[in-house]
């Protein structure tokens, strides 16, 4: 029995766990898998584009959000004041330093960073891990993008050419694959783990030193270690005399794994019980007097038997369609998998998609979700909570397409922190 059971170990669930445990609650986290950080670029995207100007990256996201919530009063960001949103992000930045994976922002406070994507596009992101900051395209040093021959997830020529086309100074170079790994079969996370070994990375600094020209900064695929990442960055900068930055590439995401791993062990140190492989399947709820009802327990099925998980309060942070919080079927039904909460998703497949995959309007099926009241409780239209002891945060909240607007991590942090504050107050 705990005070709070958080379902989901993505960024919103973990930030909620941090907030709640700091508020003195006994917190359990039950997660199906490893959480969505393993997919992401590892940056904190707060707002990158708006539907009104889909081709212009947002320059100052917090200011833009003030305008956004005026026109989109149901947007998840509208659940917080702008000051509150800024506080939650500051909480994250402070926490990132405490856990040893420090994040920072643009030189001009409040601006979005523009970071090179693995395709060479300019990605707007509000915060980034220290190892990505030197890639900010507002800086003027020319870029040397270095890849490893035969590495399938990183194409420096493509990155450099596209950056050049956009007016940035960039060139590409290759190093032999053996400088990155001797493995035959690898993921990017395994490459990064290999780099943790001093022997594996011994030749990398000198090789980069030979390639780099004075005044250049060096972009590398995000494989510079997991545990020894900070050391490797400092080492390489010292050996080459150049600023080093990582470019995150295809999942599994190394920067995401670093953040998840550090955050998880830090939370465990604070007494949070986090169990992965604990998929919550159903809930037992009662509503003797109508709305609001009460969640009595939720059930998981580990070790092939039903397992009751009990808490005073429950926070649902299972994500949307991608995270697994929602499922869908051919007849157009989309449902929330544990409580069958009402969703704003269109219940006709004919209304789910735009004609074009990359449509700037986003596909309607992905912006639907759970409606909550100002206290982050899943609620009826009149604001009445559906269950007295249930809260929700993160991607499953309705009224935004976070991938389209590049707000995934911003919404996760803001709503995860704010929901935990609401339920612990």
């Amino acid at each position: 029995m705990s005070d709070l059971l958080i379902i989901g170990a993505g960024l919103s669930g973990l930030m909620a766990a941090y907030t709640a445990v700091k508020a003195g609650m006994r917190v359990n986290v039950a997660a199906k898998g490893l959480g969505s950080l393993h997919w992401c670029a590892g940056t904190i995207d707060v707002l990158g584009y708006t539907a009104e100007q889909p081709n212009v990256p947002v320059k100052r996201p917090l200011e833009q959000i003030s305008a956004l919530v005026e026109t989109h009063p149901q947007h998840p960001y509208a659940l917080l004041t702008n000051e509150h949103l800024a506080q939650t992000l500051a909480t994250f930045v402070a926490l990132s330093k405490d856990i040893g994976v420090p994040y920072g922002g643009a030189n001009n406070p409040g601006d979005n960073l523009l970071l090179p994507s693995p395709a060479g596009a300019a990605r707007p992101a509000y915060l980034a891990p220290k190892g990505q900051l030197a890639g900010d395209l507002s800086r003027t040093e020319p870029m040397l993008i270095v890849g490893f021959e035969g590495l399938r997830d990183f194409y420096p020529e493509l990155i450099a050419e596209n950056l050049t086309k956009q007016g940035y100074s960039a060139r590409a170079a290759f190093l032999p694959k053996k400088l990155a790994t001797n493995r035959r079969d690898f993921t990017n996370v395994q490459l990064a783990q290999g780099m943790d070994s001093k022997e594996q990375r011994a030749l990398l600094g000198p090789a980069l030193k030979k390639l780099v020209r004075p005044g250049e900064r060096i972009g590398l695929p995000a494989i510079l270690g997991i545990k020894a990442h900070a050391t490797i960055l400092a080492e390489l900068e010292r050996e080459t005399g150049a600023p080093i930055f990582e470019i995150p590439t295809l999942p599994p995401s190394v920067p995401g794994v670093r953040l998840y791993t550090a955050l998880r062990s830090y939370l465990q140190g604070l007494g949070v019980h986090l169990t992965a492989g604990m998929e919550v399947l159903t809930a037992k709820t009662v509503a003797p007097n109508g709305v609001p009802g009460t969640v009595q327990w939720v059930e998981s099925a580990t070790s092939a038997r039903p397992l009751k998980l009990l808490a005073d309060k429950y926070l649902l942070a299972t994500g949307g369609i991608l995270g697994g919080g929602f499922n869908s079927e051919m007849n157009g039904r989309v449902w929330e998998t544990i409580f069958d909460l009402p969703l704003t998703v269109p219940q006709e497949r004919a209304d789910w998609f735009q004609a074009s995959f990359l449509s700037p309007q986003g596909h309607p099926v992905f912006s639907g979700g759970v409606s909550v009241n100002k206290a982050f409780q899943p609620a009826a239209e009149n604001g009445q909570p559906l269950y007295a002891n249930l809260w929700a945060a993160g991607k499953l909240l309705a009224h935004s397409d976070a991938i389209q607007e590049r707000s995934t991590e911003g919404i996760a942090i803001a709503t995860g922190v704010a929901a935990a504050q609401a339920l612990s107050s």
Partner: protein, 590 residues
């Protein structure tokens, strides 16, 4: 204007056209084949991949059934590597009991299709997911074919015999000669859709093998051919739920066949008359019908993960057009001699038929070419294996075996389909390639569960590196046809692609004027949209989740929607942008 001379001009790069080019070249004719897109862009690349035993036609069309079994046995030798020897079951479901099964057995016996009734227990032992309520099972020599590989191998055989194969060359008009009363087709005006150049190809005889576009081509000579395009929708499942072709033992109808194909299985088809061969909309009821019918043969089928849906058209020919249903129109080949029919000489149309009989269609056509050109040369295709056939039949573990034997794990560009980097590089160098979709046809890139989620970026990156190094010299000019490099028989085999043609290669030729078309950002956008087109009809459940991951990768991580060169388009960009979203149900026009 540029002019080419040939004896035989073949229009259409599907199974039939490549077959005609192969046969004619083997008989010593000078041959040029033109195809408006990539080989198998049309129906040959959009069918379920069944190598017919003839069983499906045994009751209704014994002549067609006899053709099928004869060709089945020939193709198993000439195109061995394009065929998986899956065998086939005709199963009798409770609702299918009656006279048909006995008629079916008698029909097979009458035309010589090896047909054995096996016990239900034996069938269930071999296919445990089959509906246990089936009452009878007949086994016939059905197979599973790879129509992409077969067209490539046939085209290579044609090239080896001297033919020129020109892809991305679209016929804009036929060259007409002679007087009103003595009209002759003297070749065609051809537009190179990549370079934008036009040319005249003069030919002694022109073969219309344009499949679903047959009628449109004939109209250029003022000839009316009533082709009834009959749309068939197919659905690919994420798993190979059966290892044997499974047919319903009843009068053919919608969704009555499941064909295992590489790592997946395909259920087909519907049959709906459509006005145009392209683009083709897939209606939600069609997908639902396929899944419901599949569920009758394999209980649980409808709950399995769906990978993709597509549609092709059968170019059905009927001399006197009636508004009959597609399946009732003859599937026999139709060879039309326009001199006899309309008094237009130098022009033959070959249409109808089915993939299994493509070689026979080609033989009949080239026999007629000989007659028209006043020469007698015997057909040898029935006994001439195409390059690659010596590898023997395809088997499911073939790629995995190659990867493990040669320790190619780190080389995998597409984990779903086990495509290595050198396979991509060699395909790009050996087969004229304009889009990543062409690479999909060459090596199966992006056909697996993630539908291009991971390999689209990798393939675009690799092609871009090759282009930078001058080792992707995409020669789309008409001289390209005769190069010996065009070596595609082993594109699909990891073990035959251990080393890259691109290594150390320095191009001495100037690349064609193709700067726009071979842009990596365009490659990315085109292929993402191409994959989207095929998944939108079936996006729900786990495949919808997968699609959202692909969005995360290409929008959130890559920011592909904000890459430069937004205005660029390839000749197929518009085709990929055809809207295939599910619609509110409409009543089908059948």
């Amino acid at each position: 204007m540029h002019k080419l001379e040939t004896e035989v001009l073949v229009i259409g790069g599907g199974a039939t056209g490549t077959g005609v080019a192969w046969d004619a070249a083997l008989r010593g004719f000078k041959v040029i084949l033109v195809e408006r897109r990539d080989l198998t862009h049309g129906t040959s690349g959009r069918y379920h991949g069944l190598l017919h035993s003839g069983g499906r036609y045994a009751v209704k069309d014994p002549h067609g059934a006899a053709e099928c079994i004869a060709e089945n046995q020939i193709l198993r030798v000439t195109h061995a590597h394009c065929i998986e020897d899956t065998s086939g079951f005709f199963v009798v479901l409770p609702e299918d009991e009656g006279e048909y099964p006995d008629k079916f057995k008698a029909g097979c016996d009458a035309v010589g299709i090896p047909c054995t009734e096996i016990s239900v227990a034996e069938a269930l032992r071999r296919e445990p997911l089959l509906n246990p309520r089936i009452s009878r099972v007949f086994e016939v020599p059905d197979g599973s074919s790879d129509s992409f590989l077969a067209a490539h191998a046939t085209a290579q055989a044609a090239r080896n015999a001297g033919a020129q194969i020109l892809t991305y060359h679209e016929v804009t008009n036929l060259l007409l000669a002679g007087s009103e009363s003595d009209r002759r087709v003297a070749g065609a005006m051809v537009h190179n859709v990549v370079t934008g150049e036009d040319m005249e190809i003069h030919a002694d005889i022109t073969i219309n093998a344009a499949g679903a576009w047959t009628g449109k081509l004939a109209a250029m000579a003022g000839i009316e051919i009533t082709i009834m395009p009959s749309k068939g929708t197919m659905v690919a499942m994420n798993h190979r739920l059966v290892n044997t072709v499974v047919n319903r033992c009843k009068v053919p109808s919608d969704g009555d066949i499941i064909v295992p194909s590489h790592t997946v299985c395909v259920i087909g088809t519907t049959s709906i008359n459509v006005p145009d061969p392209e683009p083709l909309r897939i209606e939600p009821w069609e997908v639902q019908k396929m899944l419901e019918e599949g569920d009758k043969m394999v209980p649980g089928f409808a709950q399995a993960r769906v990978l993709r849906a597509w549609a092709g058209v059968r170019p059905l020919f009927q001399d006197t057009y009636t508004s009959g249903k597609g399946r009732d129109v003859t599937r026999k080949l139709a060879l039309l001699d326009h001199k006899e029919r309309e008094g237009v000489s130098g022009f033959l149309t070959i249409t109808g038929g089915k993939w299994t009989t493509f070689r026979l269609m080609a033989e009949a056509t080239v026999d007629d070419i000989c007659r028209h050109l006043g020469t007698e040369r015997p057909c040898t295709t029935a006994t001439t294996p195409v390059p690659g056939a010596e590898q023997g039949h395809y088997w499911l573990g073939h790629r995995l075996h190659d990867i493990e034997e040669n320790r190619l794990q780190s080389e995998l560009v597409c984990e779903c389909e086990l495509v290595t980097r050198t396979m991509v590089e060699n395909a790009a160098r050996r087969n004229p390639l304009l889009t990543l979709d062409d690479l999909r046809r060459d090596v199966r890139l992006g056909k697996g569960p993630c539908q291009g989620g991971f390999c689209t970026y990798r393939a675009a990156g690799i092609l871009h590196e090759m282009k930078k190094a001058g080792s992707w010299e995409v020669d789309m000019s008409d001289e390209a046809g005769s190069t010996a490099k065009w070596e595609v028989a082993y594109l699909q085999s990891p073990a035959h692609n251990l080393t890259s043609d691109a290594d150390g290669h320095q191009s001495s030729e100037q690349p064609a004027n193709t700067a726009d078309a071979f842009n990596p950002n365009l490659l990315l956008r085109d292929f993402l949209q191409e994959r989207w087109k095929g998944v939108t009809p079936i996006l729900w459940g786990r495949q919808l989740k997968q699609e959202r991951l692909d969005e995360l990768i290409y929008m959130s991580l890559m920011n592909v929607d904000h890459l430069p060169d937004k205005g660029l388009a390839s000749p197929v960009t518009d085709f990929y942008h055809f809207d295939t979203r599910p619609t509110v149900e409409e009543v089908a026009d059948v």
